[in-house]
């Protein structure tokens, strides 16, 4: 039950969002000024400040009144072994070519110090339009104790969407992944569980170019409201009051490098069944760190890391017979390092994993996405090579033409608790190893 719930929400929150040509048109700057590798979403310190400044910076003469952009992502997905059923309606059990998503954006300065990033996405897998990432901001730069300080407000629809660093779940590697592969259990709520089904208001400050602090809270949204935005009513989450969110990070630029360390916290009570009086409590606590070697900005290294521990007290799920015990936990990590040559050819290696307590009811056996062992443990590696020919100042049709071609291989050492026969139906973790080719364009 829990795995279905989290899996559903992760699907909702899986839309990619990236560097936007409307930002480049507004600032007059090339994509590589703000994004490692010339197409997002991995931000350089310059891009982080643009985001914290409310997406409003820039005075280029060719700015348009409507900061409009679009993008499309086409994928080809091959898993080592075909899935027992079709990967999705109108798709095959394996070797699927998909126009995975098309997005429209209103992103940039709206008026004065008010800006935003609003994404509407068509899923070529679900064949549906729905709202995607939303981050509306008001930000000002003031002097505090003689130091430059950015103060702002963010109204957004997914915890960590508003975060300026490249470590937390909303914007971490892989930036493109296939929607046609099995998903594993054990992701914490912070990793997209409230994405596109909640609204949050946070206040933040960035003091003297080094200290970032943010606090706010999230609340669920009504069924009718979500339905109008393309979210199925059954996907709604009842957060049973406000879910507080806290974030603090220290960052430093030195010798053409940049590094950061941070903490993040989300505290959420969810009522999975309105007929039950009890709630499921999720307490997420994460630490993260990053390092970038920027040099002359032509060849860049970047490393991003995070670890999240989630304490779960699932009274409602336990009462409803969905778990053997109310007390659960999951741990999740993501570590990746990338090198971009001439901001054009990139190599990225990522490690990821989840683990948690054994519970044979919560993580029950089931074809493809169940667990024979009752454990949500998964672990794997991702390697990606990509080519981004445009995005520089002298690029063809800059900043309108943006393209990335990539090849990604995701290998699982463990999937939902074991390496062999993980689902109890004979499927091995390596059967889900995925080779994906992708084409990603933006204008």
């Amino acid at each position: 039950m829990l795995s279905t719930f989290v899996g559903l929400l992760l699907t909702l929150g899986s839309g990619a969002a990236h560097a936007l040509p409307s930002f480049a048109r507004q600032t007059g700057e090339e994509c590589v000024a703000c994004h490692v590798g010339g197409i997002g979403p991995q931000l350089t310190p310059h891009g982080q400040k643009f985001k914290m400044g409310g997406y409003t910076d820039g005075n280029a003469k060719d700015q348009y009144w409507v900061p409009f952009s679009g993008q499309g992502i086409v994928t080809f997905t091959h898993t080592d072994k075909k899935q027992p059923e079709d990967a999705a309606d109108t798709f095959n059990k394996n070797d699927n070519l998909a126009f995975q998503e098309g997005s429209l954006f209103l992103a940039g300065r709206y008026y004065g110090d008010f800006g935003g990033f609003v994404q509407e996405t068509y899923s070529g897998v679900d064949h549906l339009w729905s709202w995607d990432n939303v981050d509306l901001r008001y930000a000002r730069t003031l002097q505090l104790g003689g130091k430059d300080t950015i103060l702002g407000l963010s109204l957004n629809n997914s915890p960590t969407t508003q975060d300026p660093f490249n470590t937390l779940p909303a914007w971490n590697f892989p930036y493109v992944s296939s929607d046609l592969t099995p998903g594993f259990d054990g992701e914490p709520l912070l990793a997209g569980g409230l994405g596109q089904v909640s609204a949050g208001l946070t206040a933040y400050g960035f003091f003297d170019n080094w200290l970032y602090a943010e606090a706010g809270a999230y609340h669920d949204l009504g069924k009718q409201f979500l339905h109008r935005l393309g979210v199925a009513p059954d996907d709604r989450v009842d957060t049973s009051g406000l879910s507080p969110y806290f974030r603090v990070a220290a960052t430093k630029e030195f010798n053409h490098q940049s590094a950061s360390v941070g903490l993040v916290m989300l505290d959420s009570d969810i009522r999975p069944d309105p007929t039950l009086g009890s709630k499921d409590k999720y307490r997420d606590f994460g630490v993260d760190a990053s390092w970038q070697y920027l040099g002359t900005r032509r060849n860049m290294f970047a490393v991003n890391a995070r670890y999240i521990h989630e304490k779960q007290t699932l009274h409602a799920t336990f009462e409803g017979g969905g778990a053997d015990s109310a007390k659960q936990h999951v741990n999740e990590y993501n570590l990746n390092g990338s090198y971009y040559w001439q901001n054009t050819v990139g190599f990225t290696l990522g490690l990821f994993g989840t683990s948690g307590k054994r519970d044979n009811t919560l993580y029950a056996p089931e074809d493809l996405d169940g667990s024979r062992t009752g454990k949500p443990d998964s672990r794997g590696e991702i390697f990606q090579i990509d080519w981004t020919p445009f995005g520089k100042e002298d690029s063809w049709m800059a900043p309108w033409a943006n393209l990335r071609l990539g090849l990604q291989y995701m290998a699982y050492d463990k999937f939902n608790g074991s390496m062999n026969n993980y689902d109890g139906a004979g499927r091995d973790a390596s059967d889900n190893n995925t080779l994906m080719g992708f084409l990603w364009f933006a204008f």
């Binding site: 600032t27 007059g28 910076d57 920027l294 002359t296 900005r297 100042e393």
Partner: protein, 127 residues
Amino acid sequence: MVRILRRLRTIAATAALICVVPAAIADAEKGADSFDSNCAECHSVSPKLKNKKGPTLFGIVGRKSASIGDYEYSDAMKAAGYAWDTGHLDAYIAAPKKAVPGGKMKFDGVPDDAERRDLIEFLSQQK
């Protein structure tokens, strides 16, 4: 004694010349790297006279301050009222907020003398 002192003076002057002259030669290639590291996010040197967050730096050396017509300068920069000769550029790049208090540029500056010299040499070639 006087002869020895004269000799020592000659040796010292020669040594100073050997030390100083190579350091004083600006290197435009190093300046280009410095420009890419420190300036290129916000400034262009394209002959197309492109403004980014900051105004174009194509032809900056010798240009009157705040003189790019379609760029919105700060009041402080408009009031500066000088030509960008190497002296003014050096002082501004070393500490922009000190050189033009109230200006828009958030950059902290390039503290290294030799790096600034290389950077200005590179900028002087962008015309």
